[in-house]
């Protein structure tokens, strides 16, 4: 095995050094009854044959590079600049450990500091942590933070928050006395304000909304923060960070916590993971934020440097008294997001966001013109929208277009029974006008 540096001679010498005859003598402590004779697995494979085998396995998939995909719903196909893969392929980054030894980790620490700075800027918050697992778990941790912070026991969740995020929040609260209550959406596909008012009682720890919401709509949250704060609760927004190049930030809407999935920021889809959960708060919540934080400080010689800080909050010190058990951050993907944001800059991010809006609005308008299709929710969108099909079932449309190598969109019926006639269709900057037109033609043919 070429990954193992010890030679047979080394092994014999080392065993002799240890005063034993063979390896078995080292592990006599394992009761004989528990000793495994052999693993029932295939033998190892050489690199060349294994590459062939895995290449073939990957060919058993139809990737979005081969198909024309209009799938969204929390994970998106975006353009990834070449430099990102080159930077995160630096093995000094990807084979490094968590930066507990600051002197040996200034590279990772500084990149995380820059990441925290950019996420805080983008979300309009004061502080960002070093990242969480994904958007769903970050949103669930935000709910837990609010429950702890307020000492209350109920969280209101917009029903238009990603259904899998809502399920994750429920799972995180499984077995507890916490109550997770959905706030319905109105006829326009937006947060039902009347329902919100009636639910906002003094047992509510937080309201969680999404922007854009799962139906693709960017909502006007004017006044919502005030209502929530007046009720003594926290306002939590789960946002697509790429949309913030153009749309109002959670900070501008008055949110206390901004979380979300950072996959849009230069991270490949990889069937849904690993992605990047981001978590940013107002400074009042600094001590409550879960996960790692990197701070700038001075070293022994007075030079500026970086170190993990406020660690006393974390599990390895507080053990059962920690506010969260998280001891990972998706550092390498936070790095990818940092490189993406540095490359895009303020101007590039706005341009990409605008491209997404133009592309999806064009597609929405063209599809709405086709007889048999309609757009039930008319509000502003970022890069996806709901398309209702009057005659053909979404399943039939998806299947027919799949035969033409097109992923037409996500069937909404499995998430919202009342939208069983609808598809969630997404168009990002990866699509040219010609590709959109090809899709429109194909849709016309099946309508």
């Amino acid at each position: 095995m070429n990954y193992l540096p010890l030679t047979e001679t080394d092994r014999q010498e080392m065993l002799a050094d240890l005063g034993v005859k063979n390896f078995e003598d080292l592990i006599r402590v394992i009761p004989e009854k528990l000793r495994l004779k052999d693993l029932n697995l295939p033998s190892g494979t050489n690199e060349l044959d294994l590459t062939r085998e895995l290449r073939e396995l990957s060919a058993g998939n139809q990737s979005t590079a081969q198909a024309l995909s209009f799938l969204g719903g929390g994970y998106y196909e975006h353009f990834i600049p070449s430099i990102i893969n080159h930077v995160i392929s630096r093995s000094e980054f990807y084979t490094a450990y968590t930066p507990y030894q600051a002197e040996a980790s200034q590279g990772t620490l500084q990149t995380i500091f820059e990441y925290q700075s950019m996420i805080a800027e983008l979300t309009g918050m004061d502080i960002s942590n070093a990242s969480n697992y994904d958007g769903a778990s970050a949103t669930a941790e935000a709910a837990l933070l609010a429950l702890r912070h307020t000492g209350r026991n109920k969280v209101l969740v917009a029903r238009t928050l990603h259904p899998e995020y809502r399920e994750t929040i429920r799972t995180y609260c499984f077995g507890s006395h916490f109550d997770i209550v959905d706030v319905p959406f109105d006829a326009a596909g937006k947060l039902d304000q009347a329902a919100l008012v009636s639910l906002l009682k003094d047992d509510v720890a937080a309201l969680i909304v999404a922007s854009p919401n799962f139906l693709g709509l960017v909502e006007d949250f004017e006044g919502v923060a005030k209502k929530v704060h007046d009720a003594g609760a926290l306002f939590i927004m789960s946002v697509n960070p790429l949309s913030l190049g153009l749309f109002k930030s959670p900070g501008e809407w008055g949110a206390d916590i901004a979380v979300g999935e950072g996959q849009s920021l230069g991270i490949p889809m990889s069937l849904g993971g690993p992605g990047l959960g981001f978590f940013a708060v107002k400074k009042e919540l600094l001590r409550k934020i879960p996960g790692r934080l990197v701070g700038m400080t001075k070293d022994r010689n007075g030079h500026r440097c970086f170190a993990l800080t406020l660690q006393a909050r974390e599990q390895h010190i507080r053990r059962e008294k920690a506010g969260s058990n998280i001891c990972t951050n998706h550092a390498l993907l936070a790095l990818a997001a940092s490189v993406y944001l540095a490359a895009m800059g303020k101007e590039g991010l706005r341009k990409v966001a605008e491209y997404n809006v133009r592309s999806s609005v064009y597609l929405r308008e063209q599809l709405a013109k086709i007889k048999g299709f309609e757009v039930p929710f008319k509000g502003s969108v970022f890069n996806e929208f709901v398309l209702k099909s009057a005659k053909k079932s979404p399943t039939e449309i998806v299947q027919k277009l799949q035969a033409q190598n097109i992923f037409a969109g996500l069937e909404l019926g499995e998430f919202y029974p009342e939208l069983k006639d609808s598809l969630l269709v997404c168009a990002t900057e990866t699509k040219t006008k010609a590709e959109l037109d090809r899709f429109i033609d194909a849709m016309r043919a099946v309508s």
Partner: protein, 129 residues
């Protein structure tokens, strides 16, 4: 180490001092030394009800976070706001400017459950053995 004789002590290293109708609370010199540099204190809220021996406040150093237990049951009536901007006061002056909060006790007799300075010192000495 200095353990003033006018204070009463808990096993968990808090001290309490009767000041009129209220009990002022802090941590001992031994505790601040063990904690090392205090970086943050999460104080209880004014009006909060506390129970003797139950945690009501958190103090953090770089290395560790510790709960502070109420030395007596009652209601929090004052907190030392200065600790929020200058937590090092706890290290510099644990019995003076480094106080944490004050309680109006619901049953002042509970003070009898605490130790006098000599008893606390004896406890520390035994722990060191």
């Amino acid at each position: 180490m200095n353990f003033p004789s006018n204070l009463k002590y808990t096993k968990s290293h808090e001290w309490g001092r009767q000041d009129g109708a209220k009990i002022v609370v802090g941590i001992t010199e031994y505790a601040q030394h063990e904690l090392s540099d205090v970086v943050y204190v999460e104080l209880p809220k004014i009006g909060q009800e506390v129970k003797q021996g139950v945690a009501c406040c958190i103090v953090e150093s770089v290395k560790a976070a510790f709960d502070i237990y109420a030395p007596i049951s009652g209601k929090i009536v004052e907190i030392n706001k200065k600790l929020e901007s200058d937590p090092a006061l706890i290290n510099r002056d644990p019995y003076g400017d480094g106080w944490f909060f004050a309680i109006t006790p619901s049953n002042v007799n509970e003070l009898n459950n605490l130790m006098p300075a000599a008893g606390y010192e004896e406890m520390l000495a035994q722990g060191a053995k």
